[in-house]
Symmetry: C2
Subunit: 223 residues, 2 copies
């Protein structure tokens, strides 16, 4: 059917969420050689009849029990040639980034101990997965500067403090509270509600909400 012998096609996935004031990445412990016992991104081979997108969904479901509805933003990252020094031999890996909230990985049909790790405290990783995660992190950092992408990491109703914490976790640096609020509110990406979050022995925080549930560009960049 196919007169050409293609390289092996794979998908690797960088699933991220916020927890404990940090951006966290989903990793699995490899059950088999190569890199047995080491951590890696969930990934696998693309089979006939699959698009890269549907393959990505299948692999996350089977390896970490994560169904596609759980990911509130999915974006293709980059396609890597995996030749030099890669024990898998010659192949091509299409990588995706998935963002969500309160994701609880479970043992899928292929049990692989899925677990989230803070992006700044990752274990040693198999393959070139450390580079792929660094690439995903850069992409996310830049994306939150000119889009509402952070919506995929937050609940529908959130406080400005939560929003700022999300940006600080993604950008890995502290932000000035007054400047952050002034700037973000001027972008017209969110609107206030009349609800408040009562949290403890202090003034309650007003809850806000994104205008659009889907990815949207802001008129100018955040930073």
């Amino acid at each position: 059917m196919n007169p050409y012998q293609s390289p092996i096609l794979m998908v690797d996935s960088v699933v991220m969420q916020l927890a404990n004031d940090a951006l966290q990445v989903l990793l699995i412990k490899r059950a088999n050689q190569p890199f047995q016992g080491m951590y890696a991104l969930p990934g696998g081979y693309i089979v006939a009849g699959e698009t890269t997108v549907s393959s990505h969904e299948r692999i996350l479901s089977s390896k970490a029990g994560i169904e596609k509805q759980v990911l509130r933003l999915v974006e293709q990252l980059y396609t890597f040639d995996t030749v030099a020094g890669d024990p898998r031999g010659h192949g091509v890996s299409v990588t995706y980034m998935g963002l969500g909230l309160d994701i609880i990985p479970t043992l899928g049909s292929e049990t692989q101990q899925p677990e989230f790790f803070p992006i700044n405290a990752l274990p040693q990783l198999a393959y070139d997965h450390a580079e792929i995660i660094a690439y995903a992190h850069e992409r996310l950092k830049s994306k939150v500067n000119y889009t509402n992408a952070v919506h995929a990491l937050l609940p529908v109703y959130f406080t400005l403090t939560q929003l700022q914490s999300a940006y600080e976790a993604i950008l890995c640096r502290p932000l000035d509270k007054r400047n952050f609020r002034k700037k973000f509110l001027s972008l017209d990406l969110i609107h206030e509600t009349n609800e408040y979050q009562r949290d403890g022995a202090h003034r309650p925080a007003r809850l806000f909400c994104f205008n659009a549930a889907r990815l949207e560009r802001s008129p100018r960049s955040f930073d």
Copy 2:
């Protein structure tokens, strides 16, 4: 050898250069079905033992006689699933963008009438290639705003007027001469030389030169 049946892997290439004050895209006329006689991006199948990068080089050489040294900037764009309504059937296409100067396409070993067309006056295109070109154009527009990517489209020594024309061709809008010069010079991406270009019956223009021959980010964006 490969226990999995992968989709067909392809590479498509968006080669661009400046000519006649316009950004131009390399197209070939298809010799075979499907889309026989229509224009398309140069592209082809990735064969065993090739990376996507080496496949891209081979395909440009064989289909348009363009050797890799001629492209002064090559960047991967995106990987498209080619399923819905695509006569090739199920496949995955990795797309690259290549930028150069004074590229003269020739009939390669696979003769396909390669020719440059202005990006704003393209003929009807095969497959989803119009979308791929639009994607490449968006990428380039955004890239020249925060990098020195335009260096790949200009000669080593160039005038500020040439530089501005390049930006206008890429961004498809006129720019203010004084603001453009002030802004660009403040970015520290180029330096002046003591050479002048004598062109006709008017004041000669000073020649400038990029500081770095490779891709470099500018401290802030251009636009």
